[in-house]
């Protein structure tokens, strides 16, 4: 298509390109501003700031900070939320793609996605007054009685369950509910992208529908499902308000799920506006910087994996 440029076209094109580049620059700008905003913290604490430690030292008054309790809280709650949400989300995706009658598909899809539309403060409010007393506290007491004595994982369930119910466990469960829409929507797309031939070939060989799903579809879409998990993980890492409202916001030595904790996002939400010293502010910005990098890496990796399933050529399927 040969183009005849008319007056104004060149400046229109230049405008579009400038704006597009600006949108891209925005991402770099976020990273850059956070890096600059936390320069004092890098200089004071170096990499040791992020290192795992058993000592709890977060002391705004004496300007001594280490980020490990928050990193631990964020990673633990997000990973356990994924463990809970993944089977449920896969179940939803399989049900929607393989079993659901056509008239029910759209309403069900929308209802699951509405879970993502409810504002996270509303989750938090419901969490504090309903979910904690009705579900989390009884569940926590039960877990403390049954699992606390197991080797290895027992440490995660050592009691006593916190009295109000505010605990890492509560954060895990709320996060799981909040990331189900993400994981199920992406894995549904992944299942839909799998060529029908795979499906039909397996059924023609005499497999039951479940065997087809388990032995053919899931392995075929595995990297896409992994991508879905990473997108969900990214959401869980950055989720702030609901977690802040139910996790208890306390720094204590215990590693247990049944005790109150803190996450990276929630410490920023709680302390930033009232930071005591310049260093305190900078340290919180550095926590934000780490969070930014973690979610950005996860997102890039996840998009790449999902994109690979969608792009897998028909040629590859034939051979």
């Amino acid at each position: 298509m040969s183009k005849v440029l008319q007056h104004g076209d060149r400046s229109w094109q230049a405008l579009l390109i400038t704006v597009s580049i600006l949108v891209l620059v925005l991402m770099l700008a976020i990273g850059w501003m956070l890096w600059r905003g936390s320069s004092g913290a890098h200089q004071t604490f170096g990499w040791g700031f992020l290192a795992p430690t058993s000592l709890v030292s977060w002391d705004p008054v004496n300007d001594h900070f280490q980020a490990w309790p928050f990193i631990y809280g964020t990673l633990l709650t997000s990973l356990i939320a994924i463990l809970i949400a993944l089977p449920i989300s896969l179940g939803i995706a399989i049900f929607l793609v393989e079993l659901c009658p056509a008239w029910l598909r759209t309403p069900l899809t929308w209802m699951v996605e509405l879970l993502a539309a409810i504002p996270s403060v509303v989750y938090g409010l419901w969490g504090i007054f309903i979910f904690l007393p009705v579900v989390v506290t009884p569940l926590g007491n039960f877990l403390a009685e049954t699992l606390a004595h197991l080797p290895w994982i027992g440490i995660l369930f050592s009691g006593p369950m916190s009295a109000s119910g505010s605990s890492r466990l509560a954060a895990c469960l709320i996060l799981a509910i909040m990331i189900i829409p993400t994981i199920s929507a992406v894995s549904r797309d992944v299942f839909m992208a799998i060529p029908n031939a795979q499906h039909e070939a397996s059924l023609a060989l005499g497999s039951t529908l479940w065997e087809t799903i388990w032995q053919v579809l899931i392995p075929y879409g595995l990297s896409g499902i992994l991508g879905a998990v990473m997108l969900g993980l990214g959401r869980a890492l950055g989720e702030t308000m609901a977690v802040t409202m139910v996790i208890g916001n306390s720094i204590e030595g215990s590693a247990s799920l049944l005790r109150p904790g803190y996450t990276m996002a929630s410490v920023i939400a709680n302390e930033f506006a009232e930071a005591v010293s310049k260093l305190h502010t900078e340290v919180l910005v550095e926590v934000g910087l780490v969070l930014f990098f973690m979610t950005m890496l996860l997102n890039i990796l996840a998009r790449f994996l999902v994109w690979r399933v969608a792009r897998r050529t028909p040629l590859e399927v034939r051979t």
Binding site: Q13, S20, V23, M27, M33, G234, G238, L284, L298, N299
Partner: protein, 315 residues
């Protein structure tokens, strides 16, 4: 021999039965898991409606908060703040979002086009609290104070990916014939874009904006240290006092936009942590209003996008 054969046959039958049973069990399981996921949805919506409905009345929408510990009063300040901050976010996010979408829709395979799509995907994954920190560093700190402007900018960053993506999809749905017709008549590229493509896709673009807004309006984290909160915010008072003291329109606008404001989610968060039962009850009311606004915008815009997409595809 025959005995062994029978035994084999029986084993095979048994295996067949296990396969069939496990098939049924697992398939039923997927249905059950779907139901389980919907329990919290129903529970939250039903409970918020029941509990929040009790604290809604006229004063709730028309009055400022009473002093702590006193019953009555409303959340007018937060409603006004939410509207102001959302409008600002729209003003900041729509123009660049639509222009970038024009580029992405026209040049999907150039390096910049691919980078743009990838970039918006990644941008949509940046945690909202991090965007809040960014807006604080870029706007609040240099300006020296918290303001509605900074909050609007933070929300705009969050809305940008959704606006770019839906606008791009809608522009792609506009039939080629329209574009080519316009170009064939001698219109220039930019004129075609603005006076043919844009109006044809306008409905879709607007709904994309609403969808983005429904997400941004429920956000709290980016407002915590950009708009901060302001229980005395009252637009009516600002305007009337401005008129009385003969302030110009820009001075009044400045007083509306350039000071800390509250928003519904921010108010909800603060009220939920206070030990006063009246405030907790009001928090449920705020939750109800917020949820209804966000969910109805969300559902309506999705419905509308579907209808539009079908109509554009059909023509």
């Amino acid at each position: 021999m025959t005995h062994q054969g029978e035994l084999l046959g029986q084993r095979r039958l048994a295996r067949e039965r296990t396969r069939r049973v496990s098939n049924m069990v697992m398939l039923i399981m997927t249905g059950l898991l779907t139901l389980i996921a919907l329990i919290p949805l129903a529970w939250i919506i039903a409970y918020v409606i029941l509990r929040g409905g009790r604290s809604l009345n006229l004063a709730f929408f028309t009055q400022l908060p009473r002093p702590l510990g006193m019953a009555g009063g409303g959340v007018l300040h937060a409603i006004e703040g939410t509207i102001i901050v959302s409008l600002l976010a729209a003003v900041f996010a729509i123009p660049p979002g639509v222009l970038a979408a024009f580029y992405a829709a026209r040049n999907p395979n150039t390096t910049l086009g691919i980078a743009l799509r990838f970039g918006t995907d990644v941008l949509s994954g940046v945690p909202s609290i991090v965007v809040g920190l960014f807006a604080y560093a870029v706007l609040v700190k240099p300006m020296g104070h918290y303001s509605a402007l900074a909050g609007g900018a933070a929300l705009a960053v969050l809305m940008l990916p959704t606006i770019i993506r839906t606008t791009e999809e809608m522009l792609k749905l506009v039939p080629h014939t329209l574009r080519e017709g316009s170009l064939a008549l001698g219109a220039s590229e930019w004129k075609t874009s603005l006076s043919v493509l844009f109006p044809a896709a306008l409905n879709g673009i607007f709904t994309g904006f609403l969808l983005a807004l429904s997400r941004a309006a429920g956000e709290t984290a980016p407002l915590l240290f950009t708009t901060l909160g302001n229980e005395r915010y009252d637009i009516k008072f600002i305007v009337t006092s401005g008129i009385k003291s003969h302030q110009g329109i820009f001075q009044v606008l400045e007083r509306i936009l350039d000071q800390p404001v509250d928003s519904l989610p921010l108010t909800l968060w603060k009220y939920a942590q206070q030990p006063y039962p009246e405030r907790i009850e009001q928090a449920w009311g705020v939750a109800l209003v917020l949820m209804l606004v966000v969910l109805s915008i969300n559902i309506a815009s999705r419905l509308w996008i579907q209808v539009r997409a079908r109509r554009l595809k059909g023509s």
